[in-house]
Amino acid sequence: MSARTLFRNARLLDPASGLDRLGDLMVEDGKIAALGPALARDGLGSDIAIVDCGGACLAPGLVDIRVQLGEPGAEHKETMTTGGLAAAAGGVTTMVALPNTEPVIDELALVEFVARRARDIALANVRTYAAATKGLKGRELTEMGLLAAAGAVAFTDGTAAIADTLVMRRALSYASTFDLLVVQHPEEPSLAMGGAMNEGEIATRLGLPAISPAAEIIMLERDLRLVEITGARYHAAHVSTAAAIDAIRRAKARGLRVSCDTAPHYFALNETAVGEYRTFAKVSPPLRSEPDRRAVVEGLADGTIDAIASDHTPQDQESKRLPFASAEYGIVGLETLLPLALELYHNGHLGLLEVLRKLTARPAELLRLPAGRIEAGAPADLVLFDLDRPWRIDVDGFHSKCKNAPYEGRPVQGRLIRTVLAGRSVFIAKG
């Protein structure tokens, strides 16, 4: 007997097709069987579960292309289980893990390890990047072809830039053999080394070692030259400055195969969040100035920025309760991705489908993942949420093992009701 669930009376939202209308959605055997206005309700039989959505939004489960899950090597900060629970609680049904683990994901066995662990836990689809260079050392290329065949979705040195120009040229050039995507942390390391926050008046007042915002555009412009030479596919992760966004805008106009994402903290916060040495606001790249934050919003609105990824980076108290310069970088983001992204809609910067596209169809398309759409035959990975419901972020209530988020008490709008993974509810909100 097949397992069937009918989601009735939902606002069906599919950014890929532009669908936005009230209707029903039938799930069968983990896939979307049908959708449309008022699916025939006679003769459905008794083996069917019915979820009345009460007009709430039903959209593709979120596709988060930049997360750290602690495995292998940092299980004290996050595990596939806690990271999976956080994803489910955040409406994320597909996530892509960075390779900067211990050991580094630069071998076939490690790609398989991540896939196996995620399958066993079954709280979200978990895919992984593989390192672009062995040990993330920026010197020798990894076995990109074989790693891709084993399931690595793209290649990146994670939180480190591929800094050496010749190595980057070869990484792009070699990746183009198999039309693989190279993902860069666009930051010139010599300008960022030892830096703790964005260069400017605040860093100067606090006496903190600063990172010039130019570190981003300098690396990015070099990379764009190399993309031009190699014809490779290139993705700039978490862009944060007006200059970089503008360079990508122009590169796209020139027809280069370039894409980029940003993280919610680059449009929801600016450098003033550091306040008096608030280490939860220490991220890499650093939170930028208000003009840069506005440029991120603009880049999202005009389509220059393709995707929003949480950049989920769990850090325990020992890593954050330190003097600012010694503290680790990162914010946990899986559980705040949706409400922070919805601020763009509620503030009138982007349409609802546009916001959702950057969280679903577009990142899936960039990494060629079978996710991020609502259509017959697609996996039934869904998120059901109340678009308007106001609430306050409660960091202590996070499912993630770490609570390093500078959002405690932040009022947001848009509350998750249910997360569905292959037809199975992996999260149902209380109350």
Partner: protein, 317 residues
């Protein structure tokens, strides 16, 4: 106990100059002024802080600041304990927070803390029940240095308001510069900084200073020349090409000083690198250099700070 100590400085800690009002600064300077006179008497000992415990917690080596606080505490009758800790070894095991919690259990009345990282003293202050005095945190603040500099200037010039002060040298890494900029701006002086751009932090002009890259222009008509110490590890190739080149363009000698007012005073927070940022003869010129007075004022200012913070049962913020 005077009424002034109840109300003149309504703060629990002294973490920085930024945020202090002109009245609060004036209050501390006035109190310090009284201690200058007392310290010149044969019997210097007071009993104001008898039975109180001060802990000098230094995560960075320092002789003069630590000694100055120790002397200030002892002259007020307090018990003073010195603790020196290498931050690098702390990092491996015990964290800063653990250290704070451990010390807190000893019920000190005042913790005097120096730390190589900006913001570390504030972090520690959040975890202890006693008053905390910042004796220098990273490149952030060194409030008692700015207070003693202000006292030195006020005694020699009779005022702070309207004076033109040039701070010269490694502004980028200097907590002394930041505290002095905050204090002197609050008190109505006019500030200049003079340094090569490699030793200036971004947007420094936003802190209310005029920026110069030339000593001749930067010192023109100034009342006060404050020289900063150039850290040795920053002299060779990374921020400036060489000691020789640095001294040639930015070291203070008689020729460069000639641009300043005839009665301009020379200050230095110490310890000096003679022949690097300051000509050795000039440093010892008792007509121009007030470097030795700065040391004397240091003890008086720290006594005033301890008096303001070291007494319990106050409604402090």
């Amino acid at each position: 106990m005077s009424a002034g100590s109840e109300t003149g400085f309504p703060h629990r800690h002294l973490l920085g100059i930024e945020g202090l009002s002109p009245d609060e600064i004036t209050y501390l300077l006035d109190r310090a002024e009284r201690y200058v006179e007392q310290n010149r008497q044969a019997d210097k000992k007071q009993s104001l802080l008898r039975g109180r415990t001060l802990i000098n917690l230094f995560f960075e080596t320092s002789t003069r600041t630590r000694t100055s606080f120790e002397l200030a505490g002892k002259r007020l009758g307090a018990d003073v304990i010195n603790m020196s800790v290498q931050w690098s070894s702390i990092k491996k095991g015990e964290t800063l927070i653990d250290t704070a919690v451990t010390l807190n259990a000893m019920h000190p009345d005042v913790l005097i803390v120096r730390h190589p990282e900006s913001g570390a003293v504030q972090l520690l202050a959040e975890k202890v029940d006693c008053a905390v005095i910042n004796a220098g945190d990273g490149s952030h603040e060194h409030p008692t240095q700015a207070l003693l500099d202000a006292l030195t200037i006020r005694r020699r010039k009779g005022r702070l308001q309207g004076l033109v002060v040039a701070i010269c040298g490694d502004i980028l890494h200097s907590r002394v510069a930041r505290s002095n900029i905050a204090l002197l701006n609050t008190m109505g002086a006019r500030l200049r900084v003079v340094a090569p751009p490699t030793l200036l932090p971004a947007a420094i002009e936003r802190l209310g200073v005029e920026v110069f890259h030339d000593m001749g222009m930067g010192l023109k008509g100034v009342d006060i020349v404050m020289m900063l110490r150039l850290q040795t590890e920053r002299m060779h190739g990374s921020f400036v090409p060489s000691i020789r080149e640095y001294f040639h363009f930015f070291g203070l000698d008689r020729a460069k000083l000639a641009a300043a007012k005839d009665d301009a005073l020379i200050m230095h927070p110490g310890p000096m690198n003679r022949g690097v940022e300051i000509d050795t003869e000039l440093a010892d010129d008792i007509d121009r250099s007030v470097i030795r007075q700065q040391v004397e004022m240091g003890v008086a200012v720290r006594m005033a700070c301890l008096e303001a913070l070291g007494q319990p049962q106050r409604n402090a913020t």
